[in-house]
């Protein structure tokens, strides 16, 4: 056996099993789902090939468009809300701008330690027509039939959920940023203070350039996580009322597991992947620009 053949044999033996496992649990389901996205299949019989009909139907469905809009709003809150605010909180704690910073660190991180389902039920209990806040509002406004109208508005119903998402996930970003801030040598900050740098200059000229990578990494997580958000919203509203708070993952779940449209559900799942990859690619483009600017 010559050395090239030996190498090939060694690679096959060493890498082969991992490739087989990876292919069977990752590649095969993705390819199967991708193929299924071009069929009509209820789970029984032979799938019927229908080309891109599932995709055209999806784009024409108002319920899908509401889901898409809601997902984009969640991406917006995650990328432009949770990440900057998480960073700001981490910076305040890192620079010890408040007393009892360990306490605040714990309090801000606390929500993420609770199950999403528990959080959903908790907020439901507060804002439901039988909830505490609603009852208080009825007393304050002297209106026994008062309910929060925002939940019944097509354009606004998602906003209370965005608030919960913001509250729930910001802590995790704060902890990630805080851990990375602690990696920055204190000497750098001390040196900049001695050079007369103001706080905002320290933040924007010294700290942020060193945090670019981690900011964009968290943004990738935020986008991917936002597009597949399901548990919290499903437990809070189930996508209702009138599908106003539905997101694409809930739309996919209903079509696949409630109406048994496996082909259509697969097409929707592929759409989530495409959207996720598209947004992450855009983000990488922006990231490279920033890197060039700071380098």
């Amino acid at each position: 056996m010559n050395s090239l053949a030996e190498k090939r044999f060694a690679y096959t033996i060493l890498v082969g099993p991992a490739v087989v496992v990876y292919a069977s649990v990752i590649l095969f389901p993705i390819l199967f789902s991708f193929t299924l996205g071009f069929t009509r299949w209820s789970g029984f019989g032979t799938p019927e090939w229908i080309g891109i009909q599932n995709y055209t139907r999806m784009l024409a469905d108002p319920a899908f468009r509401i889901g898409l809009r809601n997902n984009m709003l969640i991406v917006g809150v995650s990328v432009f809300g949770q990440i900057p605010f998480g960073f700001l909180l981490a910076y305040i704690i890192y620079r010890k701008m408040v007393g009892a910073h360990s306490f605040f660190e714990t309090v801000i991180f606390l929500p993420i330690t609770v199950s999403a389902i528990v959080v959903a039920k908790l907020w439901n209990q507060i804002f439901s027509p039988a909830g505490v806040i609603t009852q208080l509002m009825r007393i304050v406004r002297d209106d026994p039939r008062y309910v929060f109208a925002v939940f019944e508005n097509r354009d606004l119903a998602i906003f209370p959920i965005l608030g919960v998402i913001f509250w729930y996930y910001t802590g995790i970003y704060m902890v990630i940023f805080l851990a990375n801030l602690h990696k920055i040598s204190p000497d750098v900050i001390e040196a900049s203070i001695m050079d007369g740098a103001k706080e905002h200059q320290i933040l924007f000229r010294v700290i942020l350039p060193q945090m670019t990578n981690i900011v964009f990494t968290t943004a990738v997580f935020a986008i991917a996580g936002s597009l597949k958000s399901f548990d919290l919203i499903f437990a809070m509203t189930g996508g209702g009322p009138a599908r106003y708070t539905e997101v694409i993952a809930i739309y996919m779940y209903f079509n696949t597991f409630r109406y048994y449209n496996y082909g259509y559900g697969s097409a929707v799942s592929m759409m989530i992947v495409v959207l996720s990859l598209g947004l992450i690619t855009m983000l990488l483009g922006v990231s490279r620009r920033f890197e060039r600017r700071y380098s």
């Binding site: 193929t35 799938p47 209702g240 009322p241 009138a242």
Partner: protein, 432 residues
């Protein structure tokens, strides 16, 4: 070609898995038969679990030669797993099924046995409505454990007396009671519709029976009539009027299922619209005195009714069915359990929890008061179709949110009807 190859691989994997993991039904050397049973049960509901265990113990005592191995799931999880097992060709020996479209994919795929040959021997023991055909050729896939009225207007007669009112004869009278009830600080009609299905199943279905009747629905089902017809639109208009007149629980479309029951039990509402299945909850939540003054009524008469007056909506209940592959002693053993569960013996045990059985002996004189009231209600109340029992489930994903939007004032009843008809015409299996 590529997709065919992929599906071949999947099929081979599924068959291999089936062969590897098969072996649910076994007949031991001593003749004892073991069956796998998949049951729909909420294990967090202690009342239901205790009641079920009582039925199971009684069966095991009466049939020592049959060993049942149970697996439990509830709600969507049950349906998802049942569907997955059906697709993989691994259905259990006995499984819990619905008479209508809820488990229609499984029953319609030839995977479940028609129970008619066994039922023929015990037909006289069941109420005729319970043995309505469930399949296109008269098949009965599951033996219903009860008959379900999806619309009951539970009434707190003590509150009515206190307010100087009587149960309204007509829709107009009901609307006129609204101010009196609200001014006294009560909710006129407790309902919760966050899930969307409640308004359709527990009110709209009964209203359609009044405005159109079964004949109209039969025609709409196959496309000889349309859901844009006045029969359907008028039923929607009743719901719209009730909503506009603030007759429902405030925020009815935000209220989770169970809130209306709580309002009624705590005597914050005069009327409570829900299905007859709520009897078991009311029997355990209401005091003996409250049960005395809880009335079982139907929605008051509408102007110009076309269907059966004073009607509700009725559907045969759920029950167990058996795997199409069972035969011989295994099939007989499966039938023993199916019959025991829904028949007179199991029903007597379940009646103690407030269930109204599908057997002709009904609730019996020893049943709880509310069970007897429900029994009388069903004996004297005609019933129409339940929409989601005969129309495709996916269409409910169009109808339910549209009704909610109508209640928000976004859509008119005509627009709701048009939206639903468009979907039905293009997709519903009844129109194909």
């Amino acid at each position: 070609m590529l997709q065919r190859k992929i599906f071949m691989v999947v099929a081979i994997l599924a068959i291999t898995a089936g062969l590897t993991f098969a072996g649910g039904r076994r007949e031991a050397a001593d003749g004892r038969i073991t069956l796998q049973v998949f049951h729909y049960l909420d294990l967090a509901d202690n009342t239901s679990v205790d009641n079920f265990n009582e039925v199971r113990s009684a069966f095991e005592e009466a049939h020592p030669n049959i060993n049942l191995e149970f697996d439990f799931l509830f709600d969507e999880a049950y349906h998802n797993r049942l569907q997955a097992m059906a697709v993989a060709g691994q259905l259990p020996d006995v499984m819990f099924l619905w008479p209508g479209k809820r488990t229609g994919d499984v029953t319609g795929a030839g995977l479940v046995q028609d129970l008619s040959p066994w039922i023929a021997n015990v037909e006289d023991e069941f109420a005729p409505a319970a043995l309505d055909a469930q399949g296109p050729n008269g098949e009965i896939w599951e033996l219903p454990e009860q008959i379900t009225a999806t619309h009951v207007m539970f009434t707190n007669e003590r509150l009515l007396d206190e307010l100087g009112l009587t149960f309204p004869e007509t829709f107009e009278e009901l609307l006129a009671q609204g101010d009196v009830i609200r001014d006294a600080g009560y909710i006129p009609i407790a309902m919760d519709n966050a899930g969307g299905w409640q308004m359709q199943s527990t009110l709209l279905s009964a209203l359609i029976e009044r405005t159109g009747g079964r004949d109209w629905f039969d025609r709409a089902l196959v496309g000889d009539a349309s859901f844009t017809d006045p029969e359907f639109v008028r039923a929607l208009e009743v719901i719209q009027t009730l909503s506009e007149e603030n007759m429902f629980t405030p925020g009815v479309n935000q209220a989770e299922y169970g809130q209306a029951l709580t309002d009624f039990v705590n005597e914050r509402a005069v009327y409570f619209i829900d299905g007859g299945w709520r009897t078991s909850n009311l029997a355990s939540e209401l005091t003996a005195e409250q049960q005395e003054y809880t009335g079982y009524n139907v929605f008051p008469r509408l102007p110009n009714e076309q269907g059966q007056p004073d009607s509700t909506a009725i559907v045969a209940g759920t029950g167990f069915g058996m795997n199409a592959n069972l035969s011989g002693a295994q099939a007989d053993a499966a039938w023993e359990w199916i019959y025991f569960f829904a028949g007179p013996q199991g029903s007597r045990i379940k009646a103690r929890q407030g269930w109204l059985p599908a057997t002709v002996e009904g609730a019996g004189p020893d049943a709880p008061l509310l069970t007897r009231k429900l029994s009388e209600f069903l004996a004297t109340t005609p019933g129409g179709y339940v929409v989601d029992a005969i129309m495709d489930a996916e269409g409910m994903g169009v109808l339910h949110p549209a009704i909610q939007e109508m209640m928000f004032g976004v859509l008119s009843p005509q627009e709701v009807a048009q939206r639903y008809e468009t979907w039905v015409a293009a997709n519903d299996s009844g129109r194909r």
